[in-house]
């Protein structure tokens, strides 16, 4: 089991060996984002900006405009905090920058809400030319990085701090925007991404005891493919979205908007972080914010058995 940030650090070095244009812009957090391995291998392609995210984002835009493929890495919360810079220097310039935001969700734990990536998706989703990818495991991180290195669109790669077990085998193919159905169920489809994928999969056994057998969808990239999401919406009577993110602005809003446009939308439910978060051990936070396995079982059981109003 490894965190997707570790897979990122390792894979980027491999990819950079084949792609001369891949460079890294660092904001003093390379040991945490795992970008430092790149510095060892390719020191001349590593741009250290210090604790200056705005300049890092702008500098990366300039690098991209000259044909390079820069990966700017920092905590997702710090990077997306420079929204005006991302909006203009990356988005409006259509600059092929890859913003790598690590420490997604509550998992940073004891450092608390000033470091937690709980609003990054909401911000990045407002930029119409940005690809957002939040992989669920090592295989998907590696495939996603191959995908990213092969194009020049502005990209937000959201990565987790916590180790995640592999939910894909090596044959997995990453297709941008496509809902990745990990397990076919009945009636209910559960959409999630990143670190929550494993939590949902771990909930399946106890859920089965309650007679709930959901389809599990890893919506690891946004914008989501409309038609594929609609098809899933038609096949299921209910859809529930779980997210390790502020409950507003993330994957739930994306999926919900698509499904509401169906003639007969499925019943829809959402659970996410409803406030700023707080500092505590990750396990305590996931329990308190009801995003751990027992809570997910409870959410889905209650949602399934709820009598429609």
């Amino acid at each position: 089991m490894k965190a997707t940030r570790d897979w990122f650090g390792e894979t980027l070095v491999d990819i950079a060996g084949e792609h001369d244009e891949v460079v890294v812009v660092n904001c003093d957090l390379g040991s945490a984002t795992k970008a430092l391995r790149f510095r060892q291998e390719f020191p001349e392609r590593f741009f250290e900006c210090g604790i200056a995210e705005a300049n890092s984002i702008g500098l990366a835009s300039g690098l991209a405009q000259e044909g390079l493929r820069p990966f700017v890495s920092s905590f997702g919360h710090f990077l997306t905090g420079k929204f005006l810079e991302i909006f203009q220097s990356v988005g409006l310039n259509d600059a092929g920058v890859v913003l790598v935001g690590t420490h997604a969700g509550l998992a940073i734990g004891k450092d608390g809400p000033t470091q937690m990536g709980l609003r990054d998706l909401a911000l990045m989703r407002t930029l119409p030319n940005v690809e957002i990818i939040h992989p669920a495991d090592g295989v998907e991180t590696r495939r996603a990085l191959e995908h990213i290195a092969a194009h020049r669109r502005p990209t937000y790669l959201r990565l987790c701090r916590q180790p995640q077990r592999e939910v894909h085998d090596e044959s997995h193919r990453f297709e941008f925007g496509m809902p990745d159905v990990l397990c076919e169920g009945e009636d209910l489809a559960v959409f999630t991404m990143g670190g929550m994928v494993e939590v949902v999969l771990d909930s399946l056994e106890p859920l089965a005891e309650h007679g709930v057998r959901p389809t599990v969808v890893n919506q690891s990239s946004l914008p989501a493919d409309r038609e594929a999401v609609r098809a899933l919406g038609r096949r299921h009577a209910s859809v529930f979205v779980l997210e390790d993110h502020f409950v507003t602005g993330g994957v739930a809003d994306e999926i919900g908007r698509i499904l509401l446009e169906l003639d007969r939308p499925p019943r829809f439910g959402v659970w996410g972080v409803p406030d700023y978060g707080q500092a505590a051990a990750p396990a305590d936070l996931y329990a308190r914010y009801r995003l751990d396995v027992p809570s997910v079982v409870e959410h889905l059981r209650a949602f399934t058995h709820r009598t429609p109003a």
Partner: protein, 288 residues
């Protein structure tokens, strides 16, 4: 002549343009550019006259005297970080023949390449999209660093406003450029002394700007930003100085039409009426 109290350079007597053909050429071009920018803004019914006019001479010298233009193998890059002065850049490009003069009436209109602030996705002669202040120097740095990595020899010019230097990101970028000794970048500060609400000095004094930049390990030169020869000399020195980043603090007048002539009293925004425009164009036409 309206003189900023800060700029000793401006108070110096300037000799009239001599018979030197190149000087006369730039002088003529800059007058045409001013007239084109004024017409463009007048038709649009909005736009920043003061900032456009203060930066015209800098752009004239860059485009016609300094920059290795598009056809060059290792072409130069121009980043207009103070994006609101873009009518002056569009006018420069029209006078140069890069942009079709027929576009003059399309500034700030639907689907026009001449957006209210520069947009590189809509106008091929805009190198970087800007508008929200403080970001251009960082992008310029990235372009300069990429050229170094690729072994390309092009130079990157970045024009910022003096008021814009109140933005924190300017100093993040200044710190990086100085610490890394980035040699292929020239920062030009359009020091017109004014910003939206009043003078830079009263709003948030920047002085001593030269000392600040020098302490960030920049080479700094101060010039009269309306004197073409002085600008050319400073820009040439900045380009050939490979010890690190160079800055040119160009002392200018907001709304500068010519010696002693200031449009709209140097206001940040505001427009001419028909009579005012005609007067200004007549003045620019006569070259006096």
């Amino acid at each position: 002549m309206k003189v900023s109290p800060d700029s000793s350079v401006l108070t110096r007597e300037r000799p009239r343009v001599s018979g030197n053909a190149d000087r006369e050429r730039l002088h003529t071009l800059s007058r045409k550019i001013r007239a084109t920018a004024l017409e463009m803004i007048h038709i649009a019914g909005s736009g920043h006259i003061g900032s456009s006019l203060s930066s015209v001479d800098i752009m004239t010298v860059l485009r016609f005297g300094q920059m290795r233009w598009r056809s060059a193998v290792d072409r130069d890059v121009f980043v207009l970080s103070k994006g609101h002065a873009v009518p002056a850049w569009y006018a420069t490009l029209m006078v140069a023949g890069d942009l079709d003069p027929a576009l003059i009436g399309t500034l700030r209109t639907l689907d026009s390449p001449l957006q209210g602030h520069p947009d590189r996705t809509r106008c091929e002669y805009v190198d970087v999209s800007t508008g929200a202040l403080g970001q251009g120097l960082s992008v310029a740095l990235g372009r300069a660093e990429a050229k170094t990595l690729k072994g390309a020899s092009g130079h990157v010019y970045c024009l910022v406003g003096d008021g814009e230097c109140q933005e924190g990101q300017i100093w993040e970028a200044a710190m990086y450029a100085g610490a890394r000794g980035v040699p292929n970048l020239t920062l030009i500060v359009d020091g017109n002394g004014r910003q939206s609400d009043g003078t830079v000095r009263a709003t948030m004094d920047l002085m001593p700007l030269s000392d600040k930049l020098r302490s960030f390990r920049w080479s700094v030169r101060e010039v009269d930003g309306h004197a073409h020869q002085a600008l050319e000399k400073a820009l040439t020195l900045a380009r050939t100085d490979t010890t690190g980043p160079s800055a040119i603090i160009a002392h200018t007048h907001k709304g500068h039409l010519g010696p002693g002539r200031t449009a709209l009293d140097g206001a940040h925004s505001g427009l001419f009426d028909e009579v005012g425009l005609r007067d200004a164009l007549r003045y620019l036409e006569s070259g006096r």
